[in-house]
Amino acid sequence: MSTTIDRQWTTRLRKRVEGTLPPEKLLPDTQPAYVASWIYVFGVLTLVAMAEVIGTGVILAIFGPQWWHVSSVGHFINSMHLWGVEIFFFAMIVHLWGKFAMAAWRGGRTLTWVTGAVTFLASILTAFTGYLSQTNFDSQWISTQAKDGINSTGGGAFFNVLNFGQMLMWHIVLMPIVAVALVAFHVILVRIKGVVPPIVENPEVGQ
């Protein structure tokens, strides 16, 4: 009887999650001493900026362009959204430099680095479709410049930067889903593997 229960997908999934990511690993009480450095703050700062960008983006979506272009509160929220993106990229790049400098892909952390790098690319596409969704002269200029580059790759038939509806939906539906999923995976991988030890202290972790 117990063997049939063991074969249920719910049981197998629970056991797997318990094994790879027990609660004390997901939300640990302490971190190794070397984590007490400002460079480790930039990953979380990127997360916070991302939350701010999603929050202000939701407000922009609720009221729409006629609101964010003309009212002062609309301008303010629009600016919060833009400056949040500035902080997001700023923090993400300092985070990337930090992880590069400590070769944080060591000890089976390849996928952590790769999900980070893919998130970076996805974020660029998110920002790009955002610039195309401004509904102003700036977005017209960017789209008419970008179309030639994208058409030269043959991608324009599928991804048409002059198609406002398509760009807006990539910006507010598809890319946020992709970016949030990637970041969730990235952070879970960090929790599963634990923070990478310093290079000098633990040479055998290398490769």
Binding site: A33, A36, W38, S72, V73, F90, V94, G98
Partner: protein, 61 residues
């Protein structure tokens, strides 16, 4: 809905960007400023002491 508190921006950004040209390199002052600030933040993160570090010494390795 006008909430004009008469607060101007710290720097007036309401004009076309200024650009620097150096051989093949072509960069706006705004972008260069952000790049310099990123380098400053990176170096500061490495050299500035992290608060509460003393307590943690020898706690876990």
């Amino acid at each position: 809905m006008s909430l004009d508190w008469g607060l101007g921006a710290l720097i007036n950004l309401n004009h076309p960007g200024h650009y620097l040209h150096w051989h093949v390199i072509d960069v706006s002052v705004a972008n260069l400023t952000v790049m310099v600030l990123m380098v400053v933040a990176f170096v500061a993160a490495l050299v500035l002491p992290f608060p509460g570090r003393k307590h943690r010494k020898g706690e876990e390795k």
